[in-house]
Symmetry: none
Subunit: 205 residues, 4 copies
């Protein structure tokens, strides 16, 4: 077997493990045992630990995939012809992703993996501001409000996701109307970006 073939095997193995971990976490949550994941991947636990020194590392890798899905969604939101449509599409795309990877939500923002998260924040801001510049979204909301909206989305999906796969759509539709069709003044200030950073840093659940 050539070195190249070995490398290919290894890569394949790695992705089998990631797939197994993702689907296991999706179904059983992050408390799922490593043994279960190993079985689903058709490997021994030891093999997992060769690729991912720690369960946390494994989780982080799965989360990374979810995060890049989100980034992709933001990119295409930015590509949309209509800024408002793009914004709205982003909301629903993220909902879709959340529902698909329900089990990973607890760690979605907790870890370091900074580059990707920075990109996500950057893109998210763009999407929002573009929609605001186009007049599609009220001007008195800020990016931190969007982060908060995603927290609320998570709340809905974590409850209803497995039983009622579309309940979050209704909630999002309703909520998005406040962003796009309302102008009543808001008395409370949004959380500061440093607060948001702090929250994310603690977020282990």
């Amino acid at each position: 077997m050539s070195a190249r073939a070995l490398r290919r095997d290894a890569a394949e193995n790695r992705s089998r493990i990631l797939d197994a971990a993702r689907s296991t976490f999706d179904q059983e949550g992050l408390d799922a045992g490593m043994e279960v994941i190993a079985q689903r991947a058709g490997v021994g636990v030891g093999t997992i630990y060769r690729r991912f020194p720690t369960k946390e590392d494994l989780i982080a890798s799965v989360v990374h995939e979810v995060l890049s899905d989100i980034r992709d969604a933001q990119r295409s939101a930015l590509d949309a012809n209509d800024a408002g449509d793009g914004f709205l599409a982003l909301l629903f795309d993220v909902g879709e992703i959340y529902r698909l990877h329900l089990g990973c939500l607890p760690r979605l923002w907790g870890d370091a993996d900074d580059e990707l998260r920075e990109e996500i924040d950057h893109l998210g801001r763009e999407v929002l501001e573009r929609a605001q510049r186009a007049g599609a979204v009220r001007s008195d909301v800020v990016y931190e409000d969007l982060v908060t909206l995603f927290w609320s989305l998570r709340g809905v999906i974590e409850r209803s996701g497995t039983v009622s796969p579309d309940a979050w759509r209704r909630a999002l539709e309703l909520q998005s109307q406040a962003w796009m069709f309302c102008n009543a003044p808001l008395r409370t200030a949004p959380p500061s970006s440093s607060e948001v950073a702090l929250i994310r840093g603690q977020s282990q659940n």
Copy 2:
């Protein structure tokens, strides 16, 4: 304060335990060990088990406090002169309660403490319908949407509650505008009441 000096009146001790449990659950989640709670309460584990035969019982007791607070909030919402004000007050009262008892939100609906929960549902419906009859809340939303709104509220508070104690107010203000000042049509149907019941029944997290 010596370990000996911590021995107190039983009733006081009980509430010390409940307080310790609440704050521990807030910070570490419901997986927090009984030992930790005992230390925080300044008692031995055995003392906890004297009052609460099971960890579940301890959780249930914390939860019970929350539920009766919620019921009280709904009662006073019904008593409000203005139906719209009552509705709005309910939203913010529940937010307040959720933030105070953040740690036990995961079990808020799962258990069988039925009478109280039924009363809550009944009152909640009343509050909503009264506000709708008064024209303060759009007529195309149903009680299940309110339940969903509370799920979303929980999502926000579980993230931000400890760090940014008012972030949820902002989110709620925004969201409530969609309920009170918007009329754009909604394409998705709300979850059915049986779906909601099913979701609650499974709700162990």
Copy 3:
């Protein structure tokens, strides 16, 4: 309340505890909790610990009562007109006592309480030898065989005592025939008295 009255109270209390302990052990075995015994006696656990510094001490006291019942049985066996009848009566009396105090059997011989046990051994030897001298019991058995017979009796009663209160009688009837009506030689030697002492010393179950 006079000192005498106090002493009477205390004595009464002590016997209430002993009664409660005896009946609890009879029904639930020696693993029964101290709290249960206290409740049955209508006192607090603390009161038990005032009279009996240790659970072991309490058990020993209950056992002491059983042992004196056995001693009494042996005394009346010695008083019997017919030596063979006396011997037989002893067997069945002990069976009766064992069944009545089924829960205490595990500690019947383990503890120190020497005087009573010595008396029991002494009397037991007498009963046996008297019956042998009278020709009612075969001459090739020794007191250690009698001790062994009581072990076997315990085995039967511990199994069947609660369900089939007379099963042990049948077993004893059968076994006694070997002692009284058989003469076939025995090839194995009986356990030595020092072995028996050693066995009793270890007997904590």
Copy 4:
């Protein structure tokens, strides 16, 4: 021998655990802690739980060995040329087995491992009836008496087994004479087979 050196082949390990369990149960009873058994076996607790998901399972496995030994003894008792010799051999074989597995006698009959137990009952009846037909055993005893005899045997062995490994032989020799050489009438009826079944069903000690 270092802790590392103790790691062995899995199969060997399993029997080391079973051996350790047996001898620990013999000495400390079934209440012995898993930690103790693990130490004696030279493994960690986790290793025990890998092979035996539950302490009950561990006990059941030890018990199973005993039961199949008993069945084997009965088979060879049936194969004996002389029916009386076969019967007698069975008694002593069972004694031998009981002594060897002294620690698990409390659970010998309680569980549901039914097939084996039914076979044992069936064979036991055969052995007895064959000996009765051959005139070697008195005709007024039934299989339930044999069960009772084994209870009594257990009583003797549980007391004396570790200290005086042959004491039970003497007791059995004596007792067997009542079965084989006596004819005096028996006044008490044997326990019914349903009583015996009930006793076994409860037998957790």
